[in-house]
């Protein structure tokens, strides 16, 4: 089955599938409910036997907010395909688990849950993988600041004994790149997060402003 063949077959079988803008691979947007069926079809009938990657994109102010993205690879034809589906519910996003189709999905989905807070329904053991158990935030969501939030140390006994906290990273004026908007005089490289620098002590009372930094860049 070549690329055009499986594309045609996929469209015939699942009329809800639409083309996804992509600069390189064949890519599709899938309706939420059909995602598992489409992935199973791609695995069994189109020969995409390897799940390379599962991740998500946070569109922040748009709805649907979260999109899960799968990259599949065919070890026989050496082709990739990208499949994306919007998650149900913007506040408590959900997506179906594919850990039973590919065991590789197990850790990838745990990571996506850890970073974005997307619950994969049907996952056998959905818990955090990179951050520690009980960490209260989802770091790759756009409202999470680069420096991080102050939280308790993992392990209540350790936290109590040491009295220490997990502190936000000292940004020291960084990271440096131009905001790419506004008048020329304001386009020098400047810090995104100046809450804590070499010259100014961190003000504990002044919490980091919630909400994402301005990541939308114009072409000017």
């Amino acid at each position: 089955m070549s690329e055009t063949d499986f594309t045609t077959a996929l469209r015939e079988r699942f009329p809800g599938v639409t083309e996804r803008p992509s600069l390189d691979l064949a890519a599709f947007n899938c309706p939420f409910g059909e995602l598992r069926d489409i992935l199973r079809f791609l695995r069994d009938e189109a020969g995409f036997d390897m799940l390379m990657d599962v991740t998500a994109i946070d569109a922040y102010e748009e709805s649907p907010r979260f999109t899960v993205v799968y990259h599949l690879f065919s070890t026989s034809r050496h082709e990739y395909v990208r499949v994306a589906a919007p998650c149900e519910d913007d506040v408590e996003p959900r997506a179906p688990s594919v850990a039973d189709l590919w065991p590789a999905g197990d850790w990838h989905e745990r990571e996506t849950y850890d970073m974005f807070g997307i619950t994969f329904t049907g996952h056998p053991d959905l818990r955090r993988i990179l951050m520690w158990d009980g960490y209260p935030y989802f770091p790759l969501r756009k409202e999470f600041p680069l420096a991080g939030h102050e939280v308790d140390l993992p392990g209540a006994d350790v936290a109590e004994r040491t009295g220490a906290k997990v502190l936000p990273a000292p940004m020291m004026g960084g990271p440096f790149h131009a905001p790419q908007k506004g008048p020329m005089s304001r386009r020098e490289p400047r810090a995104d997060d100046e809450s804590w620098t070499e010259t100014r002590e961190k003000d504990a009372a002044q919490a980091l402003p919630d909400g994402p930094r301005d990541f939308k860049h114009s072409d000017t």
Partner: protein
């Protein structure tokens, strides 16, 4: 004095009784995160029945630095040093893979000389990585000498890296659209000298271990991964090929003009620890062959894409003498290389497996989202499936044979 005679039969019966009493008692052992046999900060929660592993739960994340979050907050060139810290055993390959991924986003093709230099860099990184992988693998099985042999060779590679990039470990050599600088005079001769010396050294390493009875007994039939499992768990690189799947992205999805080089892709037959060792050894020899071809065919010309005025900052000599290039340099340094909106996924055959970058761009010099698909992460995910049934002494051997790096796994 009463003497109780103990017959062999009594001892046997008592031992059997003791065996019965202890049967079914499971012990939980915590290996790591700083256990010397775990190659970094990997923690394994291992459940044992006697000496047999019944369950294994890897705990990762001790080296999580949030590279993906950081990438969303800086320009593409600023992120190059962070890629050094992914697979820090062969850092220059990560630089190249990242540059290739972003260049695919920009739909930019670099000149032939740049590609050839990058190929040499990639293969040197593969040698670095496999020399370490094989050396410490020997240590894991109790053969300390191999480590000395391989690190003697590895040291020479670091000297080459220092001559090329100015740094031994953290190379940061690539820029989007080119390289930091051209190769220095006489460097190719040095590379040739080093690989000429390395070839017999690899043969020596081969002779030291491959037919060594102890090594053989400890690795053959241990940690077998079937073809189906390897594909289903998303294993890549030497670990996948040792299981008999002939997948090498250099052959199957050629980038950097790898289709112009002649080399073989070694594959294993049984997928055990011994096959993974053999595959890595042979890959080193193939890498040396590729480097020789690249040196022989090294084309002349520019080492960066000259037409990419909004992507590659021109060399310093031009910046200091020409107004136009000064402005170009200023814009690229402050705002980053200008990319179109869109998304790409690019994977290259890193020493450890397929390293992938999924970049979502909304235009401008900063990615909106960047996912790093790290081969070590996927290679480790098979541990819960692989470990049960093995003796606890096999655990370090299996870990050593998988040759992972936690910097890449945790990102």
């Amino acid at each position: 004095m009463a003497v109780k005679e103990v017959s062999i039969g009594d001892i046997g019966a008592r031992a059997a009784q003791a065996d019965e009493e202890f049967r079914g008692d499971k012990m939980l052992i915590n290996m790591g995160p700083s256990h010397p046999a775990t190659h970094g900060v990997l923690r394994l929660k291992v459940e044992l029945d006697g000496e047999t592993v019944t369950k294994c739960d890897p705990v990762i994340g001790y080296l999580h630095r949030g590279d993906e979050k950081i990438a969303e907050n800086m320009t593409y060139n600023q992120f190059v040093p962070y890629t050094d810290r992914l697979d820090y055993i062969g850092p220059i390959h990560n630089n190249v893979t990242f540059a290739l991924a972003v260049e695919r986003l920009a739909n930019l093709d670099v000149p032939p000389r740049c590609k050839a230099i990058r190929v040499i860099c990639c293969e040197l990184a593969r040698l670095q990585s496999h020399l370490l992988g094989c050396g410490v693998y020997g240590m894991d099985t109790g053969a300390l000498t191999v480590f000395m042999y391989s690190f003697t060779q590895r040291e020479k590679l670091y000297t080459l890296m220092e001559q090329l990039t100015g740094a031994r470990f953290t190379t940061s050599y690539t820029r989007i659209g080119g390289l930091m600088r051209d190769i220095p005079d006489g460097w190719l001769g040095n590379v040739r000298k080093v690989i000429d010396e390395m070839e017999p050294a690899i043969d020596e390493i081969d002779k030291l271990l491959s037919r060594n009875r102890i090594f053989y007994d400890r690795t053959v039939g241990v940690g077998v991964v079937s073809k189906e499992d390897a594909v289903a768990y998303g294993l890549t690189g030497p670990n996948l090929r040792a299981s008999g799947v002939p997948l090498d992205l250099r052959k199957d999805k050629p980038y950097l003009g790898y289709d112009q080089y002649e080399f073989d892709v070694p594959i294993g037959t049984s997928g055990d620890c011994y096959d993974r060792w053999l595959v890595r050894l042979e890959e080193m020899r193939q890498s040396i062959g590729i480097i020789r071809q690249a040196i022989d065919k090294m084309p002349d010309g520019p080492y960066y894409a000259e037409e990419a005025k909004k992507i590659f900052a021109p060399p310093k000599s031009k910046v200091l003498t020409s107004m136009e290039e000064l402005i170009q340099n200023f814009m690229i340094v402050t705002e980053g290389p200008q990319m179109p909106a869109g998304e790409v996924y690019f994977e290259a055959e890193n020493p450890k497996g397929a390293l992938g970058f999924y970049i979502v761009s909304k235009g401008g010099g900063v990615p909106y989202r960047m996912k790093i698909r790290s081969p070590s992460f996927c290679n480790l995910s098979i541990l819960p499936k692989m470990m049960p049934g093995h003796m606890v002494a096999d655990v370090p051997v299996i870990l050593g044979s998988l040759d992972f790096v936690l910097g890449e796994c945790d990102r």
